[in-house]
């Protein structure tokens, strides 16, 4: 037996085996991103800065999330006391002056929340993308100095989603989305979300500052800043109820 040939064969086998073992699929990347970014339940204090041609508005809120339920309370002076409760596709609003709860029509879920570029759905839902889109790894690129996977996602047929296609830049080491482009079925670019600050909290990486640009409206953007976040907090029973809105 020629030892050189054996050595070459062994090396080749090791190379093939290891490269197969290290290959990661688009679904696995998204799954790992979901592990970081999907909120099973959380308490989030945040600030929303709405920018339009140099003019800025700031809104502050406290958001409680548990599955498909969310309770948002605004704390900035203009909206102080205004609250929203979302359960599945039902949305209720509490008006602090009248101290009254009114069920909002379903179409309001798609509206920009309190005038922002984030819809009520964007703000009050944490969806597992793996259940809504088919993913494809289209390349490995560097984005703002970080090595990233570039993933293209097209919605699963029949899935109810706001965006037909998404292209995401996902940090290879931290498995967190750094940039995302959201497209209509026509191929038109609708929104671009760019994460400008991330932080490791309770052992998982999470976007702390995100800028959302609506590409169909000129010179507008909304910056969403997480002031504090607590994963899986103890949320008392009955929190997501009409009673707790009042």
């Amino acid at each position: 037996m020629n030892y050189k040939k054996i050595a070459v064969l062994v090396l080749l086998s090791v190379f093939i085996f290891s490269s197969q073992a290290l290959a990661i699929t688009a679904e696995e990347i998204i799954q790992q991103r979901d592990d970081n970014e999907f909120l099973k339940s959380a308490r989030v204090e945040s600030t929303m800065i709405i920018n339009n041609a140099g003019r800025e508005l700031e809104k502050k809120m406290v958001n409680l999330i548990e599955g498909d339920k969310a309770l948002v309370s605004f704390t900035n002076p203009m909206d102080r006391g205004t609250k929203f409760l979302k359960r599945e596709d039902n949305l209720w609003m509490f008006f602090p002056d009248a101290e009254d709860v009114v069920k909002l029509s379903g179409h309001m879920l798609e509206r920009g929340m309190m005038g922002s570029d984030f819809s009520y759905k964007d703000m009050m839902e944490s969806e597992k993308l793996t259940e809504l889109y088919n993913f494809e790894l289209v390349g490995e690129v560097e984005y703002k100095g970080r090595p990233c996977y570039k993933i293209e996602a097209v919605k699963v047929e029949g899935a109810e989603v706001s965006y037909y296609k998404r292209i995401a830049w996902i940090d290879k080491e931290r498995f967190i989305g750094l940039r995302e482009e959201l497209y209509a079925e026509s191929g038109k670019l609708l929104k671009v979300a760019e994460v400008t600050e991330v932080e490791e909290i309770e052992g998982r990486w999470y976007p702390i500052r995100t800028i959302m640009e609506n590409k169909l409206r000129e010179n507008t953007s909304t910056t969403f800043v997480i002031d504090s976040i607590e994963f899986n907090p103890e949320i008392p029973e009955g929190t997501f109820s009409l009673e707790s809105l009042q």
């Binding site: 339009n52 900035n76 009248a98 009254d100 379903g106 179409h107 309001m108 026509s186 507008t220």
Partner: protein
């Protein structure tokens, strides 16, 4: 009446005692200052005045106090109104609120014919009718169902202005429709009113759908007992330009049909709350029903400003009240509002101005919240 006073006194002491811990522990203070110009145009004359308003709110967990101080240069009067002064606590799952408080049974309509106080809320505007001295018992059955019982107390020096008023509301969700049953009884020396009504709100595909039915039993010392029925149905829809992601156009429409008899006077209050003058005596003639159509359209110009157009049209004579508005949030805490109202009808029509009622009004207001 004495027993009611005794119950209220005991409740007050219990609520103050149990709420005192929360009163001491946390509170929020805020308010709004605003200044504006009102121009009111009558048939032959007009009035212009400038006003200033300060609204202060002190909110504890279990108590809320709010006052509004206002001044205008026409009447040279400085007025202070106590809007809220209540304490609140929970006993055996029931939330009890005692004191001056807003009682509002809205379900999303522009005009609410089944509200606790008719005319208390219209076109998203508040009137003082909403704030009443009362005890409210509110019991949540589950996350979406609840019942409320309200008993109002008043003690006017003029006994003819005193009345006993009770309200009951049951609310639940049926197949994603918010459904409520409301009942109000108001008895005084001069009139007895019993009102009950049903309201619903939900969705049909991408549009909101809502409606209400109300029955009013009304009698006074001079008018024999009469029943008045009224119903309304409405819809709302949002349309986004640029493939659904651009500026928003919001549309809302409502149709009201009210039986024409003396009970109509009671419901007309809800239109008076909209800032639109209607003379019940004039309305009582003609057809069997009074039919009106309301529309509300608003368009977001950008993230800060919007324009809106509200209208009420009498389907009997075609006269219309037109109320366009413009809003601009100048800074995070400062807002500019411009409202105009105009009654298009002739003297004998439903929506018409005249010598004593303005044909048009303009309001420009700048407000700052803190």
């Amino acid at each position: 009446m004495l027993s009611k006073k005794v119950i209220v006194s005991i409740l007050t002491l219990v609520l103050i005692f149990t709420a005192s811990h929360a009163l001491a522990s946390s509170y929020q203070f805020g308010g709004e200052v605003s200044t504006g110009l009102n121009s009111i145009f009558f048939e032959e004359t007009n009035e212009n005045y400038i006003y200033e308003t300060v609204n202060l709110n002190l909110d504890f967990n279990n108590a809320n106090f709010e006052i509004t101080a206002s001044n205008n240069n026409l009447q040279q009067e400085f007025d202070i109104t106590l809007k809220k002064a209540y304490i609140r606590n929970k006993f055996i799952g029931t939330r009890v609120t005692l004191g001056k408080q807003p009682i509002s049974w809205s379900f999303g309509s522009l005009i609410n014919p089944v509200d606790y106080s008719l005319g208390a809320e219209a076109l998203d505007e508040e009137t003082s009718a909403k704030y009443v001295n009362a005890v409210e018992f509110h019991y949540p059955i589950n996350w979406y169902s609840n019942v409320s019982l309200v008993t109002e107390f008043n003690n006017d020096v003029d006994p003819t202005k005193n009345y006993d008023k009770y309200g009951f509301r049951a609310r639940t969700l049926i197949k994603d429709y918010d459904v409520s049953f409301n009942y109000v009884k108001q008895d005084s020396q001069v009139s007895d009113i019993n009102r009950w009504g049903l309201s619903f709100k939900g969705d049909i595909k991408n549009a909101g759908l809502y409606g209400a039915y109300t029955n009013i039993n009304y009698q006074t010392t001079t008018i024999p007992e009469v029943n008045t029925q009224a119903f309304m149905v409405g819809t709302d829809y949002s349309y986004f330009l640029n493939q659904g992601f651009g500026n928003r156009l919001y549309m809302q429409g409502e149709y009201h049909r009210i039986e024409k008899n003396e009970g109509l006077r009671v419901l007309i209050n809800s239109l008076a709350g909209a800032g639109v003058g209607l003379d019940p005596t004039k309305l009582l003639g003609g057809d069997e029903y009074f039919d009106i159509l309301l529309t509300n359209v608003s368009y977001s110009i950008n993230d800060f400003s919007s324009i809106g157009f509200f209208s009420l049209t009498s389907l009997e004579d075609g006269s219309t009240a037109l109320i366009p508005n413009y809003q601009n949030q100048l800074t995070t805490n400062t807002t500019l509002n411009i409202n105009l109202s105009y009654l298009s009808g002739e003297a004998d029509q439903d929506f018409a101005g005249g010598v004593s009622f303005p044909e048009a009004a303009l309001n420009v207001e700048l407000s700052y919240v803190f």
